[in-house]
Subunit: 540 residues, 2 copies
């Protein structure tokens, strides 16, 4: 039975905080709930901020899911905005809060406290960093400032090509600005494996974004009306507005001062019921370090989905610890659209597995997002990664124009269920020509993995640099003629058996086609006839 | 190691047959493979046929994935089209085949035989059924005939409102025909629960389809230039063209004559390696009875996905029984689009569970397909059904405009993994405003189920007929005013606590909103204050 005599104080009134308060109220009309929020707004749609800046979301109002008044009326609780929590007295179970700009404040006593302070955008101490033209994006006020500045700007520089950076670059282009995107890593979306980001890079460039990869930002200098952004390597870019989206840091100073356990990167450490090292103090959302659902290792996933679920779970455990269902850990599923291309991922990348020395295998496949013969089919490239030995799926990444989110959602579900790579072969997914294929690209990944494990499929992810290798394009001759591949010989699949005598058995062969399917068939034929052939994954 | 000295004969050259042949060839260049196909075509896209009739797929050629010649060249095998298998001599391991229109034929010996004969559209012995204006749709020739007839027709009648019937009704409307759709059951899509098909029915009617539910077809009579279709109840509809899509019957006569075990409905019974009761004779595709993945009960799922996988598996087992991975059974995932509405399902419906007396629970939720504040959000209604006691997910159905296939694919994956309903709460699905919500409608189903199990959520699927019940619309007052609900009182959620004194505690209350979320919150408030309140599932 839920406890109804509790006094709950929630620090932070956005995703995790609002979820906790709402759930607590659903469990009991009697419990006392107070939300303390540093800013003027509660429960706003922070993921929508870039889209209002770019004008895709025309009305600012729709981003305010609740005003403090409506949240208070809806849930029957107290909302204190523009109010900061400055000190926790754990022994007395009270938290000191004060209105912004005032000194003293007052103590609020609690039976259960939730910390949902979120995370702040990083703003490194670079020369010129305090220039007012350099923005970060966290709340509605940041959004308003960027939107107002963008209206007068001609040139925008976005620093950081993660999810928010890509959204901002796209939205600034919607506004007609000249946009430069600067990324320290030699690839877009550093969360993904580099070779999965090529389509996105081409799309950004085709849409007029000036992309600088492998470029650190070294400082800013005012130059007349504009700002000079100095990049590593001596390049300098002019900007009227700069948005920094290079990551976030958990707002854990209150927790730290209260002596709660923090993780290596400063997050508030919680257990599977969102309790901090003080069992009456819970934490949820972007500021916490929970654990990875796949490996059990410590993990912080600053995303809206986990924040909502963690907040809700904290309320369940505060109110009725016996019946609360434990948090299963985070997987880290994310998606971003830039212009016509979508990239998404779930779980672990090859890059991250390598860095933590976890043994894995991976397969990369490509196929159309629905039946090829139905108009509008566009290809999806899908990589699935699994644990060597057990076959347990560890992660996936996909890139394409349509249906990318669907495939990653399916694999995120498979990961949550602890499925193995071969289980993907037999998934029965929706199939009608406008929606999918009899063998969906997710099924293909499972089948290709079986073939890889069985030694039938030998795949390379890029064309050989080696001049010795014979590159054979097995597409129909007319496709080859319309888009010939340099250094490749055209031997269409349907005459491969007849013409394989033209090839040298003593030299390696790489077979190539549009999607990586026919080239696999061709490699099978060749390998059974004494050649050493590999298929180029995901085709052209 | 695969056996390379096999002689494989495949009867039927479309989905299952072509998959088997292709896989066998991939496993060995040496094995002998002969495909025997009754019709003139192999490996054609049968799911695309309606879309070529309606002109959405402009080119007929794209439906022929392979010609007999290209399939033969691609796979290095023999293709015999217009050739029927007429007799199996199991003792001598040979099958007699003959060219269409000839008498004698010849015997082909086999080591392993695959039967992939498919299923024929039903054509019941009704008065007038032999009129040449009455069509069924199975192959390219049927398609050509319907397309030619439709070009001269003004009025079409489609009999049967399953997946193909709906596609045909839609495509005939694309061609500008007057379309009547006749269904014996009192609902569209008899595979689904009736109340999940309401949106689809409205969409068909809004798009000018004349829908006759609960109407059997009793016969046909020529009347001048047109055909009168007589329905039960005395109604008669005029047609220039009729398409029957009332189901299929497995083409199992060859198997029956050979003494192979058939199921209750005439399917060829196979084991988990697609072997019939004769271990050297395999069967796959629409003609087979395999087993249900969820319950293990016998099951026949005539869909393209299972057909492809079964054909492939048969080849694996023929070639190397030691390493073949068993078929896990079929779930039955299907999707159909009609105009702007998509309906999809996976696993068991309530209706089917009731008919087999399996104890279950179900929850119905509704939410937008992506963040409500991002332009273009449209609602999805999702029902998820689970086994009472264990919580194991048994099935799901969804209806909406966008993203319906994605949600059903996620749940089909959860079913394949044996997940429980509560596992849906914590799935981490792709979330960015254009793609989803921090709490996706799939998560909501899991959360609502938890609430149902915990006794927090009390749901009704329709408004009470009972005049005693108090129906309370908790939407904001301006929404209620713009679309008032008869017999409902408007008490917006944010003043419910203040105004609940207006309600009579001695009478039941049903709360209503747009999506079924706020009404749940309202029911919680009321039930904690001594009322007996239930929430209308999935809102208006």
């Amino acid at each position: 039975m839920p406890r109804e005599d509790l006094k709950i104080v929630v620090i932070g009134g956005v995703a995790a905080g609002a979820s906790c308060a709402a759930r607590a109220r659903r469990l009991s009309e009697k419990v006392s709930i107070t939300i303390v929020e540093r800013g003027p707004d509660v429960s706003f749609a922070n993921c929508g901020l870039p889209y209002h800046i770019g004008g895709e979301i025309a009305s600012r109002d729709v981003l305010s899911i609740h005003t403090p008044q409506s949240l208070s009326a809806m849930l029957g609780l107290e909302v204190r905005t523009n109010t900061e929590a400055v000190e926790i007295d754990r022994a007395a179970k009270r938290v000191r809060v004060r209105k912004t700009g005032t000194e003293e404040g007052e103590w609020l006593s609690y039976d259960k406290l939730l910390l949902a302070p979120g995370a702040s955008p990083l703003r490194p101490p670079l020369p010129g960093i305090d220039d007012p033209r350099i923005h970060t994006l966290r709340n509605l006020q940041d959004m308003d400032a960027i939107k107002a500045a963008a209206a007068k700007a001609r040139k925008a520089v976005v620093v950081g090509a993660g999810f928010i950076g890509l959204e901002m670059a796209e939205q600034f282009r919607h506004l007609g600005l000249d946009v430069s995107l600067v990324e320290l890593q030699p690839q877009l979306l550093p969360q993904l494996d580099a070779d999965m980001t090529g389509q996105l890079l081409r799309e950004l460039r085709q849409n007029g974004v000036d992309v600088h990869l492998g470029s650190g930002i070294e400082g800013f200098a005012s130059a007349g009306d504009s700002l000079q952004c100095r990049l590593s390597g001596g390049v300098s870019i002019e900007a009227d507005i700069v948005v920094l989206s290079i990551g976030v840091r958990p707002d854990s100073s209150l927790a730290a001062a209260a002596g709660l356990t923090l993780g290596k990167r400063g997050h508030i450490v919680v257990n599977e019921f969102m309790q901090t090292s003080d069992p009456d103090i819970y934490a949820a959302g972007d500021a916490v370090e929970s654990f990875d659902r796949i490996t059990g290792r410590p993990s912080a996933v600053p995303l809206g989905g986990p924040a909502n679920r963690q907040g809700r779970l904290a309320a369940c455990h505060m109110m009725d610890p016996e019946s609360a269902r434990p948090y299963p850990g985070s997987i880290g599923t994310a998606v971003v659209r830039a212009f016509g291309v979508t990239c998404a991922m779930t779980g672990w990348s090859e890059k991250r597995l390598k860095s933590e020395a976890i043994a894995y295998k991976a397969v990369t496949v490509k196929d159309n997002h629905h039946a090829s013969y139905y108009p509008g089919a566009t290809p999806i490239t899908l990589r699935v990664i699994w644990e060597e030995g057990t076959g347990r799926i560890l992660g996936a990444q996909a890139s394409g124009q349509e249906g990318v989110d669907k495939r990653i959602d399916v694999i995120a579900t498979a990961i949550a269920a602890g499925m193995c790579i071969e289980d993907l072969s037999n998934l029965e997914l929706c199939y009608a020509p406008p929606f999918g294929s009899a063998k969906d690209v997710v099924n293909l990944a499972g089948l290709a993995a079986e073939n890889l494990v069985d030694g039938l499929l030998t795949q390379v992810n890029e064309l050989p640099k080696d001049a010795l290798a014979q590159v054979i394009d097995v597409r129909p001759a007319k496709l080859f003629q319309s888009a010939p591949r340099p250094n490749a010989t055209s031997i269409p699949m349907d005459c491969l058996r007849a013409r394989m005598g033209e090839l040298d058995k003593s030299r390696p062969v790489v077979t190539v086609c549009a999607l990586g399917k026919t080239s696999y068939f061709a490699a099978r034929v060749l390998n059974q006839n004494g050649f050493s052939a590999k298929s180029l994954a995901a085709g052209v």
